[in-house]
């Protein structure tokens, strides 16, 4: 039994001392993106995240205190009241007074916990009077951000290369927590998130903001944050959403307000430039090269690197009837999605005409399909408007 006692004390000590001592270390390491032994909840960078942390620690310490008393009595009994020491068993049982005490005292402790928890919950639920609205849409397996009231809208994909995931290359510091395009937001502004999903349920979670809200197809959830420090804050999808649930991170880049505004206008201008490209005619090689990049971010998760798909789950593109058949049917599949398989999304609203033309051209000639034909952005636009 002695071993058991020691073991438990070791755990209790680790559990009680660790959060306090290591909290600083965690915060420090998190910045470097490689906290090797993170043991506690982050304090975060918002008022809500700090309140949540305090609440968490308050309840933790209450539990520790109760644990010390309960386990203390147990271990004392196990040590003293054993038959091998010749201890005679007492035969007492039933005591209304004791029973009442251990019903009423815990109830009072619970009320003590419920009061600050209720207050914090009211704060978290107050989504009124935001300075900025951002629509967040979960897709299998990426996030889309729409800045309400502006033309800026983009997808944010995992940017960790497959070679790192498959252990062919050393893993970078922010392995699996890096994206091609982060969500850029201003600091010290109340940002309201409108959260929904396109296919299955996802959950948008950034620990440093203490925001976690389910993204539910057909419904819009609300949440909010006010970030106090500029920085990069990383999170992940928190609700099982299919095969690549572990591969749809979130990166929030908080910047000073003026920087945010110049980023927003740059981003709007870039979107306009892409739109203009719709009227341009591209060569096969230009489309093929651009298409390869798009394929890697938009298609590869299901259809795989060589277009081979996953038998029984995701159809192959290599040698498929659609990619080697009439152009209209191919465009229809990519632009409108599959009428029979919801996993094949409608990419018409997700990609620009240029990118759609490029990726279709790529799919028709890559993976041994060898069609050699091209489709121009304007054709895609006309197809969409048909």
């Amino acid at each position: 039994m002695l071993m058991g006692i020691k073991r438990l004390f070791a755990f209790l000590t680790l559990a009680t001392i660790a959060p306090g001592v290591l909290a600083q270390e965690t915060a420090q390491n998190a910045e470097e993106g490689a906290a090797r032994w993170g043991v506690n909840m982050t304090q975060g960078v918002t008022e809500v995240s700090r309140t949540t942390y305090d609440l968490h620690m308050l309840i933790f310490w209450i539990c520790v205190a109760i644990g010390v008393v309960v386990f203390g009595v147990m271990f004392y009994s196990m040590w003293r009241h054993r038959k091998s020491k010749g201890y005679e068993a007492a035969q007492f049982h039933e005591s209304t007074l004791v029973e009442l005490a251990w019903t009423i005292v815990p109830t009072l402790i619970l009320i003590g916990m419920a009061i600050p928890a209720t207050k914090t919950l009211y704060d978290i639920y107050d989504t009124k009077e935001a300075d900025l609205d951002i629509m967040i849409t979960g897709y299998q397996w990426k996030w889309k951000y729409d800045y309400m009231g502006s033309d800026v809208s983009f997808f944010s994909n995992l940017s960790t290369p497959q070679s790192q995931i498959n252990n062919q290359q050393p893993k970078a510091a922010n392995y699996l927590l890096e994206v091609d395009e982060p969500l850029v937001v201003p600091i010290n502004k109340k940002i309201r998130f409108l959260i929904t999903a396109n296919d299955v349920i996802h959950a948008w979670w950034v620990p440093d903001l203490a925001v976690k809200k389910d993204a539910i197809p057909g419904f819009v959830n609300e949440s909010w944050t006010r970030i106090e420090e500029p920085g990069i804050y990383r999170g992940q999808c928190a609700e099982l959403c299919g095969k690549d649930h572990g591969f749809m991170p979130i990166v929030v880049k908080a910047v000073p307000e003026d920087e945010y505004h110049s980023w927003l206008s740059d981003r709007a201008a870039a979107a306009a430039r892409i739109k203009e490209l719709t009227n341009k005619t591209f060569t096969f090689d230009e489309l093929y090269a651009r298409g390869e990049e798009i394929y890697k971010s938009a298609c590869v998760a299901c259809h795989q690197a060589k277009g081979e798909g996953i038998p029984g789950t995701f159809p192959a593109i290599a040698g498929s009837a659609i990619a080697t058949g009439p152009m209209d049917a191919h465009m229809s599949m990519v632009v409108d999605g599959s009428p029979s398989n919801p996993a094949m999304q409608a990419f018409g609203a997700q990609l620009s005409e240029v990118d759609l033309a490029a990726v279709i051209t790529y799919q028709r000639s890559a993976f041994g399909n060898n069609m050699g034909d091209t489709v121009q952005p304007i054709d895609v636009l006309n197809f969409k408007n048909k």
Partner: protein, 516 residues
């Protein structure tokens, strides 16, 4: 009278004997425990290091899903039904279960349900991959074709559980020996009576929710699809209305087992018998009004959040009463530490730790940070592994001499305990840390800062798994022979089961015993 079992295989196929059926339930559940455990080891092996090593993400999801389903429906629930079959008639002085033919049927449909469930692993598109909680629309519109087999398997398991529960209720209410009033029943009988009512109440709800899925998938309804006027969150409400009582179904009988073992080895009566009964009933009642604490992040109105938060916190009160009772029973006893006692003490300590994290999870604003992380995985494994699994193990060691007439090997039992105890804590304690540090659950690969604790957890899991082989070995050895057990087995244990010879004859209490 006094006819023994039939020889050969038909004994097991046609048997209506509660002891035979109890044994079959226990062996079946142990087989499922090993199968579900192997799946857990696949998960832990993949998570040993960052990066994808041994399985692909799609298969990983199939493993987490099947591990959960098999452990809940195949290992824990049938094990408790097996213990109830063996012990409830012997504890209340009844000759057998009230409905013996139904008893046979409720066992024999289980192997078919699980054969069908496991066969999905070999189907095109793979096994169910949407988590044991199978949230729509991932489990409907986006599910692999094998989901239909999963639905049918769940229906069969549900039918089996409902029949088992009705049988237990009928037995307890009608077949008690003269003088065995309700408030004289052993706590294992009480907790099972209450559990059986929970099962009868919620298994039809589970059947309902999978039927709604079936309709959505094959018959064009849209219960869970917003595009057709349905609501994906409705699925979660219905599922957890089943799911929360379900977790108490997996723990209440455990309370009963531990309440039998601790007084025996403390040589002191249970401190508060009646308050234990009332606490069990309160927990059962509360289990029906807390389901949405699994759904704090779905965007419920604040009134809903507050109601479910307060109701959930209240569970701590009757649960506390139970823990305090066990501790007070031990206090000033004259304790010895045989294997069943070791498992029971570990149950009290580790279940309490799981209870603490449960209390933390009840606090809605803090839950926004904990929800769907490894903190939750740590929490429910702390209540289920030391809770359900340890108590079942304790019960098996405690009653095995009565079942077989032989004593198990005590030293091997103790080694099993210490390996399991260390393995369990090494596996699940670090999960608290990675969860708080931000690791979501159900991911096949993770960021580098979670690597060290995951590695430790994986080592612990293999240790815990290996320990179970020792358990199997010990049980088989005891069944085959060993030191003969006395009729009482332990020192002055309480209960009618100890008044019959060891091993218990094929038919016991053909004449009702006298209960003082």
């Amino acid at each position: 009278m006094a006819h023994g079992p039939k020889p050969g295989f038909t004994r097991w196929l046609y048997t209506t004997n509660h002891k035979d059926i109890g044994s079959m339930y226990l062996w079946f559940s142990f087989a499922m425990f090993l199968l579900g455990g192997c799946m857990a080891l696949v998960i832990r092996a993949e998570l040993f290091q960052p990066g994808l090593q041994i399985v692909q993400p799609g298969f990983f999801n199939q493993m987490t899903t099947m591990h959960g389903l098999i452990m809940v429906f195949g290992a824990v629930m049938p094990a408790f039904v097996g213990l109830a079959n063996w012990m409830v008639p012997m504890m209340i002085g009844a000759p057998d279960m009230a409905l013996p033919r139904m008893n046979n049927w409720s066992f024999w449909i289980l192997p078919f349900a699980f054969a069908m469930l496991v066969s999905t692993l070999f189907m095109e598109g793979g096994a169910p991959d949407f988590g044991w909680t199978f949230y729509a629309p991932l489990s409907t519109e986006y599910a692999p074709p094998s989901v239909t087999f999963f639905i049918f398997a769940v229906h069969i398991m549900g039918a089996s559980s409902i029949m088992g529960a009705i049988n237990i209720v009928a037995t307890i209410l009608n077949m008690r020996a003269p003088g065995m009033t309700l408030m004289k029943m052993p706590l294992f009988v009480w907790t099972w009576l209450i559990t059986a009512y929970l099962l009868i109440a919620v298994m039809p709800v589970l059947a309902g929710v999978v039927t709604m899925m079936l309709m959505d998938i094959h018959f064009g309804t849209s219960f869970f699809s917003a595009a057709g006027g349905g609501d994906p969150v409705l699925f979660q409400h219905v599922f957890w209305f089943f799911g929360h009582p379900e977790v108490y179904i997996m723990i209440l009988p455990a309370f009963g087992i531990v309440s039998a073992i601790i007084p025996t080895f403390a040589r002191k009566p249970l401190f508060g018998y009646s308050s234990m009964v009332y606490a069990t009933a309160s927990i059962a009642f509360l289990s029906f009004i807390v389901w949405a604490h699994h759904m704090f992040t779905v965007g419920m109105p604040i009134a809903g959040e507050l109601f479910f938060m307060y109701a959930t916190m209240l569970i701590a009160v009757p649960t506390g009463v139970k823990v305090f009772n066990w501790v007070t029973t031990m206090f000033r006893g004259s304790m010895t530490f045989e294997t069943p006692m070791l498992f029971s003490i570990a149950f009290v300590i580790l279940f309490t730790i799981g209870g603490f994290s449960g209390l933390m999870l009840a606090i809605a604003p803090a839950d926004f940070q904990y929800h769907d992380t490894y903190f939750v995985v740590a929490h429910f494994h702390y209540v289920l592994v030391p809770g359900a699994i340890f108590s079942i193990t304790a019960g098996v060691y405690y009653w095995l001499p009565k079942w077989t007439g032989n004593m198990y090997n005590e030293s091997m039992g103790k080694v099993h305990f210490w390996l399991a105890f260390v393995g369990l804590n090494v596996t699940f304690f670090p999960m608290h840390f990675v969860g708080l540090a931000g690791m979501p659950r159900r991911i096949p690969d993770y960021a580098l800062q979670f690597a060290d604790f995951n590695q430790i957890a994986s080592v612990g899991a293999f240790l815990f798994g290996a320990a179970q082989i020792l358990f199997l070995f010990n049980v088989i050895r005891t069944v085959r022979g060993g030191k003969k057990a006395t009729d009482e087995v332990w020192e002055n244990p309480e209960g009618l089961e100890w008044s019959v010879p060891s091993p218990a004859p094929y038919h016991t209490f053909s004449t009702p015993p006298v209960v003082r």
